[in-house]
């Protein structure tokens, strides 16, 4: 009876298109917002900020970017890691060339670069489909990482070949670099991620979103009903890469503090893909659920043996960890191939008809 939609009538199309047509959902969202904006920052430890809160937000954003491309527009990409890299390197160059630039502005700008490169690598998608396209995006993945390694201008000719985030001060607080406090970085990330989420939701529920979904579900039919496939696919690549690029910039500037080229390796792409898929392709909220699971799970697993005082060596824990994550991925795919988001929807459907089984 708690979750009951009956009786909430909509009287205008506008109301029907509201983000949360169901009152309970709006309340739930309010709770989540209070948690993330007030309660977490007040209570979280340094460890929680660094290993849970900040990375979960950043990974969720990256997955959201990927989800636009893969979940909404149906173009499977395995090059997310490299596009995050483009965002990160672009941000690094912006900050070092224009030291006066506001870091948030720099982060938002750096997405533009990855969007450009995303479009360039998206062009083959007009002809190549499915797994062939996925492998083709690997060309971007490997080529870009190679470029990060070889093009020393990108990392200002540092001897180590890595980029290091300098200390950046804005409005009297350190927002990036080793001097910055975790809580500041958390808020910066939160602001950017919230902004991006709102934009993504708007894009995916409107005309563009429908264009993408049509392209995804059946591109031939989409073209025949008047969708310009090239435009549809390329905008998906551009916007997806933009979001991914921004997340890459956040990744390095607001969390890692430094990066070497192989950080943006294929493993990163897979990680983001896991999040998107476990969360649910074609959903925005799912990315958060996926990120919580994929980022949070190993952290929790790591602390378990110590909590129970089990005498297992850390290496074994790590091996078990890998096994468990692998097994869980399979497990979640089996119980709900359409991701956590869908699981949530099913629960909701059950709640609506509760206490009747059908």
């Amino acid at each position: 009876m708690l979750y009951r939609t009956a009786g909430q009538f909509k009287t205008s199309y506008r109301a029907d298109q509201a983000l949360f047509p169901v009152r309970q959902d709006a309340i739930l969202l309010g709770l989540v917002l209070i948690l993330t904006w007030v309660i977490f920052p007040l209570t979280a430890s340094e460890f929680a900020f660094q290993t849970l809160l900040i990375p979960i937000l950043i990974y969720a954003l990256a997955a959201m970017g990927l989800n636009i491309l893969t979940g909404f527009a149906g173009q499977l990409s395995l090059g997310t890691g490299a596009f995050m890299g483009v965002g990160a390197y672009a941000c690094y160059k912006l900050i070092t060339i224009f030291p006066w630039m506001n870091p948030v502005v720099a982060i938002l700008l750096s997405g533009v670069f990855s969007a450009g490169i995303g479009v360039a690598f998206g062009i083959p998608s007009l002809r190549i489909k499915g797994f062939y396209l996925a492998i083709a995006t690997l060309a971007a993945q490997f080529f870009l990482v190679w470029l990060f390694e070889k093009w020393s201008w990108l990392y200002n000719d540092n001897a180590s070949g890595a980029i290091q985030v300098p200390n950046i001060e804005t409005l009297g607080v350190w927002v990036a670099g080793p001097q910055a406090a975790s809580i500041t970085q958390y808020y910066v990330v939160l602001i950017v991620v919230t902004l991006m989420t709102v934009l993504c939701i708007n894009l995916t529920r409107g005309t563009l979103g429908r264009t993408w979904k049509a392209t995804r579900d059946m591109d031939i039919a989409a073209e025949l009903i008047g969708i310009n496939l090239m435009r549809s696919k390329l905008t998906a690549f551009a916007i997806s890469s933009y979001v991914v690029g921004v997340s890459g910039a956040l990744f390095v500037f607001m969390w890692r503090g430094a990066a070497e080229p192989n950080l943006f390796d294929i493993q990163l792409s897979f990680r983001v893909l896991f999040i998107a898929i476990i969360g649910g392709l074609g959903s925005i909220m799912g990315n958060y659920l996926g990120a919580i699971l994929i980022v949070g799970l190993p952290v929790v697993l790591n602390t378990l043996p110590a909590t129970f005082g089990l005498p297992i060596s850390s290496a074994t824990v790590e091996h078990l960890n890998i096994m468990i994550v692998g097994a869980l991925i399979i497990f979640f795919l089996i119980i709900e191939p359409h991701g956590l988001n869908q699981l949530w929807r099913l629960i909701r459907e059950k709640l609506i008809i509760w206490p009747f089984p059908h």
Binding site: S160, A258, E260
Partner: protein
């Protein structure tokens, strides 16, 4: 009473093969101290491992997890070291990166919290060149520098480039991508085309075995191939066995089965069933290196305890300890590390110690020493250290520098 000295170990991932013996050596030595002496100065050592799999990401996570109580952090990869380096400055925890990390860390004035005892990569490069020079001069020769395409592999490049000009040899850098470690035929074809007089190798993990097997296959004369200390792992050479005879590696550690410390480890750790190692591994170079690394840390703890008169030292007290290690011959004997590590000492400005090292050679079954103790030509790169350290500090401004220490 307990001292928390965690280790960001890696026993998994593509580099596990080289990590495991090192971690075992480190852990066994600490376990031995706990069993034999009840720790150091009465304080037990908590030598917990946090598994990184050599991944920078996991490494940072481990650092964040342990930094609350830890008095030292041992990041165990150049990548992780680079990442936590600026953080340790803020968190005020010493990084101990024995024989790896960022070469300019030798400058204690700039890198107050970082230590790469007993020798750094530039020491290694300098000694290798010195040794090769001794084999008949380097003027007009050609050296192929086969290295991992990764911050670690690039470390010695600035020095090698500088020395190439000075000593008159030609340097051909040949990078090996992380994905090509197992399949280096392109690199070795290049070596065959270039016909270098020597191959100097900066390899790690699976890259070493790959390079050594390729060298044997392409019939490169093994005696003209020299590796840094991380490329001198017994297991890598065992793959080719006798065909690898003549291969050399510089090292600041050496296994000595007769050293008292080995006997102690055997009685207190191995016989008690607390070791993860085995006999074959314990006879190897890397296991002994693990022991030496732990011994250095233990020594620093002891020095700090004496200075501050407390068994439970904190991170900044340990930092003082690390700056005042004096591993003299006598002290090495006392610790039972006979012949396992060259003498060295650190100071406020000198965070490396520049211990020098021996050239080891694979005789087909094991590594043997083929040189006296070599020592690096510090003057060659003292300037370079200062310069690069300053560059780093500038890029990371505001970067607190320890003005108090001179010389």
């Amino acid at each position: 009473q307990e001292l928390y000295v965690p280790n960001l170990a890696y026993r998994t991932g593509p580099f596990a093969a080289t990590g495991i013996p090192l971690m075992n050596g480190q852990a066994d030595y600490m376990a031995m101290l706990n069993a034999r002496d009840g720790g150091i100065g009465g304080a037990k050592l908590n030598f917990e491992e946090c598994e990184t799999g050599y991944s920078t990401e996991k490494g940072v996570e481990c650092y964040e997890k342990t930094k609350g109580r830890a008095i030292v952090t041992q990041p165990w990869s150049t990548g992780i070291t680079l990442q936590v380096l600026p953080k340790t400055n803020v968190d005020e925890i010493p990084i101990l990166a024995p024989g790896y990390g960022f070469s300019p860390m030798a400058d204690g004035k700039v890198f107050q919290w970082a230590y790469n005892t007993p020798a750094g990569y530039w020491d290694a490069a300098s000694m290798i060149l010195q040794y090769l020079d001794g084999q008949g001069g380097l003027d007009g020769k050609k050296i192929a520098f086969l290295h991992l395409d990764h911050p670690y592999g690039k470390e010695p490049l600035p020095l090698l480039e500088k020395k190439a000009g000075e000593m008159g040899f030609e340097l051909v850098p040949i990078p090996v991508g992380l994905k090509e470690m197992q399949n280096q035929s392109a690199q070795w074809l290049q070596i065959r085309r270039e016909r270098p007089d020597y191959v100097v190798m900066w390899g790690w993990g699976a890259m070493n075995a790959g390079a050594i097997t390729e060298a044997v296959k392409t019939k490169f004369p093994m005696e003209n191939m020299v590796g840094v200390w991380w490329s001198g792992h017994d297991a890598d050479l065992k793959i080719v066995g006798a065909d690898g005879a003549g291969y050399k590696s510089i090292s600041w550690s050496f296994p000595n089965a007769d050293a008292p410390v080995m006997a102690d480890i055997k009685t207190h750790v191995v016989d008690a069933g607390n070791s993860q190692s085995n006999e074959e591994e314990m006879a190897g170079v890397f296991y002994s290196r693990g022991i030496v690394i732990s011994a250095i840390l233990a020594e620093a703890i002891r020095v700090a305890q004496e200075e501050y008169g407390t068994a439970e030292i904190d991170a900044s007290q340990l930092r003082w300890g690390l700056e005042n290690i004096d591993m003299s011959e006598a002290r090495i004997e006392e610790l039972g590390l006979t012949g396992m590590v060259p003498p060295f000492s650190t100071s406020c400005a000198n965070h490396t110690g520049h211990s020098g090292g021996w050239m080891l050679e694979w005789d087909g079954e094991k590594f043997v020493k083929v040189s006296d103790l070599l020592s690096a030509d510090l003057e060659d790169y003292q300037g370079l250290i200062g310069e690069k350290a300053q560059e780093y500090a500038d890029a990371n401004a505001p970067w607190p520098v320890n003005e108090g220490c001179e010389g």
